[in-house]
């Protein structure tokens, strides 16, 4: 590929920054769109919190946003839409695009010493195929009935019951046959759902949008796997790859194997909704008020199996790259070799492998055979083992280190600290009898936010700060970075930690108004406290956004290797030109040679200086 990197042509603006085939630009495109959706998802989350803290409504100012018909407050259906779209946006449009899209694209060729991805055109397409998804998901907020409101898990039959045409017609009198018009795809009311207002057109758009996201991710995966396997620089053996590359490789394999299942499930549900195929509707039909559906022939539980067969590996897709990033940052700012490189690789592979046989732990109470539950429980609990191995190796990396308290390092250490909490709280729900109580309470909400927000997002922040100089040739502002970290760490914990307590109190998730329950009365002050902290947490992110753009414009200029790190991306100029390296580097050793003798305490992978540390 070295010929490619030497083609110094200067493409026009459109080709260079918009329809670019350069992996770095594509990565940065993912970064920016992710940032936009991070804001959207965050606003949705804060509105969810507002409702939970003051379910009676009558909020100052905010009440005026809502239609008069709702009485100056949110409607329950609107609330369902909020949490559904918050989760969908954060998972499919923020965390996955950031981790695999932004970091995957930007880092893989640079870190393995390649000029670009194996398939640059496909790479460009993997980003642009997301644009239909972006547009569709944004439009879905404005369709009749609102955006999807059946949870990000979209369980049938809430999500896929499609009203036949004529549902809105007056109900037939007793003894009289209800008047049925032939089913029509193009009639408006054929998209209404009798189950929930957000399960009509909004749900259809949600399904279509996610299909595009899936296609984009699949293109990315194929590209990452091929690039990593075929385009490593000379000397870059698999066991010399930085852990970030390992984590992205394992993630790509996970995605390639799991995504087809989600795609199939989405298509099946789409068919259910559009042409009434009944894949997920029960044989006996259902009754909504006075209206009875036609008998189905399917099985609601089938969706859950298909959905979680993807979505459980998906949570590893959303954490593994962050683990890789954190390993990188921890080693660099510990100025010490990463402890246990091989155990780290094997434990990531272990998490990924086990990740395929644990999806049933989302379904312990679903009506799945409880004996299967026992098997899923044992597999799930064993996933804590590779996670524990990783944690201990990170801690051992810090032991005897010379820790530099940079903002990237603080975020990385916060990842370790928070991942411990998120990992440990998972054991409660893995244990079947305990899960009977904790299933679908705030305990699981606490757990997912400790893993996906407090862990993944801290990993992402660490990565952004760490590679910002490589991306843009400038350093992010350190004091602002530290202030942002401090506020995020404090308010994040104050927001999410009390959720464990709500869960122990038995507070169910997805409740519009928990105060009507006597047993939850005591917990309401906690809800209000968490909401205030959540608002502060949201505001704190503005510091990050400001820092990001401020540093982009006025940041200190960064040289090639501002952190004294070892991996190959630091051999390229900051920012690297098209083709990345002046000449493809040669790799002599692993990426974590810190604390070595010599002029500096690090020995980069591409420095040909003896073989004292292999």
């Amino acid at each position: 590929m070295s010929e490619l990197s030497h083609q110094h042509h200067s493409p026009g603006f459109l080709k260079k920054y918009i329809f670019s085939e350069d992996h770095k630009i594509i990565g940065i495109q993912f970064l920016f769109t992710g940032l936009v959706f991070f804001a959207i998802g965050g606003i949705l989350a804060m509105m969810v919190r507002l409702q939970l803290a003051w379910p009676d409504g009558n909020l100052p100012y905010i009440g005026k946003w809502f239609p008069q018909a709702w009485g100056g407050k949110m409607s329950p259906d609107f609330y369902s839409m909020l949490f559904t779209m918050h989760a969908s946006v954060m998972i499919f449009f923020v965390v996955i695009p950031w981790l695999t899209g932004a970091f995957g694209n930007f880092l893989i060729p640079l870190m393995i010493g390649a000029g670009d991805m194996a398939f640059p055109k496909l790479n460009m397409l993997s980003y642009w195929v997301l644009w239909p998804a972006f547009i569709i998901i944004c439009c879905s907020f404005f369709v009749d009935g609102g955006a999807a409101g059946s949870g990000w898990t979209a369980y049938p039959t809430l999500s896929n019951t499609n009203a036949e045409a004529g549902l809105d017609a007056p109900v037939a009198k007793e003894g009289e046959q209800a008047k049925k018009e032939p089913y029509s795809l193009f009639k408006d009311d054929s998209r209404n759902s009798p189950a929930a207002s957000g399960s009509g057109m909004g749900q259809i758009l949600w399904l279509v949008s996610l299909l595009f996201v899936g296609i984009g991710s699949m293109m990315g995966s194929v590209n990452y796997i091929t690039t990593i396997l075929n385009m490593r620089a000379p000397g870059m053996s698999l066991m010399r790859m930085p852990l970030t590359v390992w984590s992205l490789f394992i993630t790509a394999v996970l995605q390639a194997l799991a995504l087809p299942v989600l795609t199939v499930a989405l298509i099946l549900q789409l068919l259910d909704k559009l042409i009434a195929t009944n894949f997920f509707l029960p044989p006996g039909g259902m009754t909504f008020g006075n209206w009875q559906t036609t008998p189905g022939g399917g099985q609601p539980l089938l969706w859950q199996h298909l959905f979680w067969f993807y979505s459980h590996p998906a949570v590893y897709i959303m954490i593994l790259p962050a683990m890789g990033i954190v390993s990188e940052v921890l080693a660099t700012f510990s100025r010490k070799p990463l402890f246990g490189y091989k155990p780290m690789v094997f434990s990531m592979a272990g998490i990924a492998g086990l990740g395929f046989i644990v999806w049933g732990h989302h379904m312990f109470q679903s009506g799945m055979d409880p004996r299967l539950g026992t098997g899923f429980m044992l597999a799930t609990i064993m996933i804590a083992l590779p996670s524990a191995v990783k944690t201990f190796n990170w801690l051992a990396t810090l032991w005897g280190a010379n820790i530099q308290f940079t903002s990237a390092m603080l975020n990385a250490m916060a990842f370790v600290s928070m991942f411990v909490i998120g990992g440990l709280s998972g054991i409660f729900m893995a244990a079947t009898p305990v899960d009977v109580y904790f299933h679908d309470t705030y305990f699981i909400v606490a757990h997912i936010h400790y893993v996906l927000f407090m862990s993944s997002i801290f990993g992402i922040f660490a990565g952004f700060i760490y590679w910002f100089p490589k991306m843009f040739g400038k350093l992010m502002n350190e004091p602002l970075g530290k202030l942002h970290f401090l506020l995020t760490f404090v308010f994040g914990n104050l927001t999410f930690f009390p959720m464990h307590i709500l869960g122990i109190g038995g507070h169910p998730r997805r409740y519009y108004d928990p105060t009507i329950y006597q047993y939850l009365e005591n917990l309401q002050p906690l809800n209000q406290f968490m909401t205030i902290c959540a608002l502060m947490l949201g505001l704190s992110q503005l510091i990050f956004v400001f820092n990001f753009f401020f540093s982009l414009a006025f940041g200190k200029k960064a040289d090639k290797n501002p952190w004294g790190a070892n991996s190959l991306e630091w051999e390229a100029p900051s920012p690297p030109p098209h083709g990345n390296f002046e000449s493809i580097p040669k790799v002599y050793r692993g990426p974590y040679e810190y604390a070595v003798d010599g002029p500096t305490d690090n020995l980069p992978q591409a420095t040909p200086m003896g073989a004292t540390h292999s």
Binding site: Y341, Q365, M377, N393, Y437, A595, D601
Partner: protein, 302 residues
């Protein structure tokens, strides 16, 4: 700076620990357990809490200690070490054993709660001993309420058949589950529209209702909360403010949160029977209501 950041991490983690210690005293804890298997659930919860609590303190302690001890050191280099096989073996083997223990210790309680032999309709653990149940009940979920149906004489002759078709002498209630102390109750859990989940926090009981299926659920309450007063026709609470509630824990549409019900455990079978007889009389006097209720609670498929 290192002292400041170490303190930030330490304070957050100590705070996290503190809220767990304070929560029971603030009334932010598990609701009172009143079921026969709930004690097992709580015990397992505390076992996991102890183990995870230990590892929480251990790992966060090492992290904060490392930040203080190894932060901004005035040394030329950190120590050059790539790994240690012995340590790896240690922190693989020890958690492995603990996790295996945590896994297997769950199995009996789970079996007791959920392994239901569909022939005898009782947990397989008890089958063979042929323990009889005391009370049949159909709980039919719909948007957005629980419809409860119990047979005359507490037990249905052919329960599977009865659960589907019902009987003219059934008592129909909405959002109220009645049983008596120590009664072994079997619930035929159904739904007529979307997935719902029957959650009784005090019984440590939760089960999704699946469209098109009848899910077996059982419980045995070991404590009573009401006594029927035939003179007034009212239920009297034995412990004031001791309402035991029913909630739905599977998103079932906009008013998901409104599927609130109440659990009434009578102090004896006699008390339950007295209440049942009066409730039945009341129902008979509303003949029209009854017709409508049967139609609805069998999902219109009689």
């Amino acid at each position: 700076m290192k002292i400041f950041w170490s303190l930030v991490f330490a304070v957050i983690n100590i705070g996290a620990l503190g809220i767990f210690i304070a929560a029971p005293y603030m009334g932010w804890w598990l609701p009172k357990n009143v079921s026969s298997f709930g004690g097992d659930v709580d015990r397992l919860f505390y076992i996991i809490l102890a183990v995870t609590g230990f590892f929480f303190v251990l790992t966060q302690g090492i992290l904060v200690y490392s930040m203080i001890r190894f932060g901004d050191r005035k040394v030329e280099k950190a120590s050059y070490i790539h790994g240690h096989l012995g340590m790896e073996a240690l922190w693989t083997a020890v958690p492995c054993l603990i996790l295996m223990y945590l896994g297997f210790v769950q199995v009996p309680a789970w079996a007791k709660m959920k392994y239901i032999d569909l022939e005898t309709w009782f947990p397989v653990r008890f089958s063979g001993k042929n323990i009889e149940h005391d009370l049949d009940m159909v709980v039919l979920a719909r948007q957005w309420e629980w419809r409860i149906r119990t047979p005359q004489g507490s037990r249905a002759a052919n329960a599977a058949q009865w659960a589907e078709t019902g009987n003219l002498n059934d008592l129909h209630l909405t959002n109220e589950i009645h049983a008596w102390k120590d009664a072994r109750v079997r619930i035929h859990l159904k739904t007529q529209d979307v997935i719902h989940s029957l959650f009784l926090p005090n019984l440590r009981l939760k089960q999704d209702a699946l469209p098109g299926k009848t899910m077996p659920v059982w419980f045995q309450a070991i404590e009573a909360n009401v006594k029927y007063n035939p003179a007034t026709g009212q239920l009297e609470e034995l412990t004031p403010n001791g309402a035991w509630e029913i909630a739905c824990t599977e998103l079932c549409g906009g008013s998901h949160y409104r599927m609130r019900g109440k659990l009434y455990i009578h102090e004896s079978k006699q008390d339950y029977d007295r209440w049942f007889a009066d409730a039945m009389k009341l129902q008979r006097s509303h003949e029209l209501n009854k017709q409508a209720n049967i139609a609805a609670s069998t999902g219109g498929r009689q």
